[in-house]
Symmetry: D2
Subunit: 353 residues, 4 copies
């Protein structure tokens, strides 16, 4: 009920605060007999890791995952996989300036009011550090559904958008640049923009597009647990996300039925795909694609007025090492959450066989 | 697992196909001792009902709800509330033309492939008729959280948008017109547009905006069950929804942190509200507002090519009585789902007291 | 959370009070394409029905189940199966004498204290009438796991016990007598005992033994959801049950390991079966057998002192038509709950394939 | 679904194998602001620890719990509490003799068949070592429900039973002897018996009785999640448990209603308590008491025939250091599981306030 678990069949439970001993999790329901590719897991973590390039936070964290259970001689055993990542970089001193202050557009105020107590060291539980655990579980989920391809990429930073449909992109180029945009000319502009924003001590929002290919027909449970509903929830559970759309999305709301309907080919595929690969909450075998909006990071290196825990106006300024734009590091998180959703439905679908 | 339930504490399970005996549901976890306002429940159903105006489907259905349990002398008893709504208008003959045909952008193809069997009478389980049960439960949920106001309204039809912020609108006018738009001049244009579209035998999409006022601080479980994640899932579980955004939404992804941050007043309220009333997944006491995109209805009164169950190309044309634009009837559904989400978190929050 | 659902994959939710409009339920997760045997379902209901013989309550209730959804042309469709049974015999007048009285060893006092309100017409929600819905769902579950045999029978009434191991019994004889005991000489004694008890205006307890045969190896989830744990919970959720034991049960607690261990045959079966077909929480392919203790019915036709809702001592006497011994009517309920447990694990196990 | 979690509101998820890196768990839903008594937690672990006396296994394990999250400045924060216990004593060599052998009445055969793979080092996941995590969580649960007393004790070993009702016992004496029996003369006999059994290289079963005092009225959800049903499930999920009874239990099945009914006092308490503190699945404020049967430990130090993974008959003999009687170490486990059940219902009951 307290919401630290995701999934039904392939279920992840996470724990940990940004500046506690460690973060970690338990994966319950991973199929037995799977030979895990540990390098692939660490590689996903490295994509999310701080300090990976000049346009992300320069915090130093090894982000090395240690597995405690559920794996024997390199294979999953069907028992829960416990894991943790040490918080190597617990500079608690850095955070004394926010002990009695509610930072604007952070979770300080709401946590304090909900729980009556708050771990004020960094974001505590509300920090996006928690998402490293999602990336671990997502990397394993990807191995469970290895025939399905999941490609996320930065599709906009501020006002800079890729001006091509995803079909015109070469996903193998996503990791070629530090902003994770497969369109090279857009990538350059995005990187310049982020550098400029960082110099201003400011931050900027962006969007991530994600494409799922080779998804079997039949995933998703109609009515409340529609495939798009779970994907939406999964994405909106990521820190800083403000919106989700799939297929035609908000543009679809301007269209006519005669334009929007996806006509069938004889083999059951469709000529167009404004449905985004999902009909009636169930995958139809076409590409699933969706777009996720991220707000700008709330911690800025500029002076802002805010209030302290006594309700007095105080001035504060971000310290430390923060991201000017979160989307590039969020690309593997979006993929991880998509993998968790799809793996869960994929395993659940075995019931219908 | 099969996804016909919503909520944890205040939990709705629904059943029923559009052309079966009846649709219905069970509400488990409604607090005891609540004197139910049955008129208010029926009123909500009437807002969703077919035949309510000249711009909706002219199907005739009484949509009268009958309660079977959980209520004694007008009060809830804490035991499950079972209810059903008879399907008065089962014209099964009308649907023989789609028995062997997969309608474009409907769920016929995906249901058949998922289950190996399909109730081809109307949309069966995939029909939006199921949402009448959500409206019943939502109307009761509203009574559980009676201090919280939930206002949904049509904010666009096709390219016609209300060009004012929601704060400039008078929600008491929403029901004054048949398109459920509180802005009168926009409403007129929307109604004209829908009539025009209907004459063409076509359909059109639109958006609904929903505003939640007087929400207590502290609702929502951080991490996976963030308040926005559950709202998003709830909305994306409604038929025809393609997107969800809250607060600054997709626009927020273009902004800078220095523009986007909501600065505090001394009382903990915020000067701006781009956060949309939620920080760190938890309500902060400000208005919660979000926007939901609906695609155009897939059934159009024009000829379309499609395939039959043998994979042959056939021509088909919508028959019967369908909605040219679904948003006006979806307004009470959006409110119902919002009420279910909020009631669930509201009750859950008692656990922290 | 409010506990009116059972199961995960094959999930039953029930509603209804003994003297409300109807009782009913929703089965979510029944596999699609199953041709239902409706006669078999009604037959199970008839085994539980009041008035079936001279040694059960003489209340008149047709107990006819009506299905509202989830079935098309006689087959399950994979969508939820909604059903209800009308309460034909709502003699509310009969119950005015208990409106303000807490009956001894009934749930009147606890419901009133928990909920602050109580449907005092009969047992309301606490009545065993609710179990009719379990029998409906169990009868469908039996059809899902049709290769597995489930045999429950009355193994004792008061001090009268079958003095043979279950292997010496012929289960085909269980329905040959009104007490549902496959051992004829024991059956006669039990029936005499119950008649005698009824004359005294008293009631008597008993036990039911249940044997599951041909259960595939591998059912049950180790750790918290062990097969025996779920069976135990399922049985202890039945009204009037006071104990559960499986395999060697309480006798096993007196034994030595050298006596208790079940040695293997070469094919993996075991020479003895004190384990009761379950090892480590997982079925091992041997017979599963367990025993369930039922207390005597609390409503007796003798005068008893009790208290009213004001805390005053009052005298009361049972009225109406009650069972002198509940076990014979509970036999189909035990089977139904066993079927629900096994069907759930059976379907869940497909996830490992 | 894979069954490694227990509870709804106060939810424990465990992971870990007996001879892996560590065992551990996550507690989700612990109320915030609770000042944890860490000594009390470790004290409970010590009661379960191997090597604590001459009549338990002489394995050496420190069983020191380390907390990773959810606690700040000694208080719970409302976020998940992650913890682990290192497996200090991983003598994997000791277990090579069982790598290819299915031990009688162990879970080797069923795990191998269910998962197709098995961690053969010790019992792996099926080892009772997992219960140390339950003891940690149970010790915290006890602090959540600190006004409720939970007393478990050894009530029988083999044929040696305490011959007094629990009301005649002084629970403060339970920890005075190594067999955890508050009746001194019975304790001596039990200890002698266990020593004798150990010399024979054999093992013996026993029972634990548990009494819950000062339980508020109203805990438990009627119908499927009755208080006794959850207690039964919790107990039957403990390794080696074969039976559960509460209140009058199996004896109640021999009684008449006129003997069994608990008559009320004016204050709502009852003169007798054959109900065992629960009526209609809900606590009534009287003592809750139940009895749990444990089979003899399957690993004996005598030669036994068994089969190997190829289905060949082989001879084996237990090695290493095992318990001759498990009940004394299971006393804190029974208390822990009872605490988890009660804490969950206690927190859930806040919904009705």
């Amino acid at each position: 009920m307290a919401g630290n678990s995701y999934g039904n069949i392939f279920k992840l439970t996470t724990f940990g605060e940004s500046h506690g001993e460690a973060i970690g999790g338990v994966i319950d329901g991973c199929p037995p007999g799977l030979t895990l590719d540990f390098e692939a897991i660490q590689k996903e973590l490295n994509r999310r890791k701080p300090g990976q390039s000049e346009i992300v936070t320069q915090r130093k964290e090894a982000d090395t995952v240690e597995f405690l259970s559920g794996i024997f001689e390199g294979k999953t055993t069907g028992t829960p996989i416990g894991f943790f990542i040490k918080n190597a970089n617990q500079k608690s001193k850095d955070y004394s300036h926010i002990q009695d202050v509610y930072r604007p557009s952070h979770a300080d105020f709401t946590y304090q009011n909900k729980y009556g107590i708050r771990d004020y060291r960094g974001g505590g539980r509300s920090s996006a550090r928690e998402t490293a655990c999602r990336v671990v579980a997502g990397a394993i989920a990807k191995q469970v559904i290895k025939d399905i391809q999941i490609h996320a990429f930065t599709s906009s930073v501020g006002e800079i958008f890729i001006d091509k449909p995803y079909q015109a992109l070469d996903f193998s180029k996503t990791e070629n640049n530090i902003v994770r945009c497969p369109d090279e000319s857009s990538a350059e502009k995005m990187i310049s923009k982020i550098k400029e924003i960082r110099k201003e001590g400011d931050t900027i929002g962006g969007t991530i597009t994600c494409v799922l290919q080779n998804v079997p027909i039949g995933l998703g449970e109609p009515v409340f647990d529609k495939l798009q509903a779970e994907l939406g929830k999964a994405m909106l559970s990521i820190n800083a996300v403000k919106g989700f759309e799939y297929g035609s999305g908000f543009c679809g709301a301007k269209m006519k039925g005669s334009e929007h309907n996806d006509l069938f080919n004889e083999d059951g595929s469709t000529k167009s795909n404004l449905s985004g690969g999902i009909q009636g909450g169930i995958s139809n075998g076409m590409d699933i694609y969706f777009r996720v909006a991220f707000k700008p990071v709330a911690t800025i290196m500029q002076k802002q007025e805010t209030i302290n825990t006594k309700g007095e106006i105080v001035e504060m300024q971000g310290k430390g090492r923060h991201d000017p734009c979160v989307v590039l590091r969020a690309v593997p998180i979006v993929e991880a959450m998509a993998a968790l959703v799809i793996a869960d439905f994929f395993l659940l679908n075995k019931l219908y066989k």
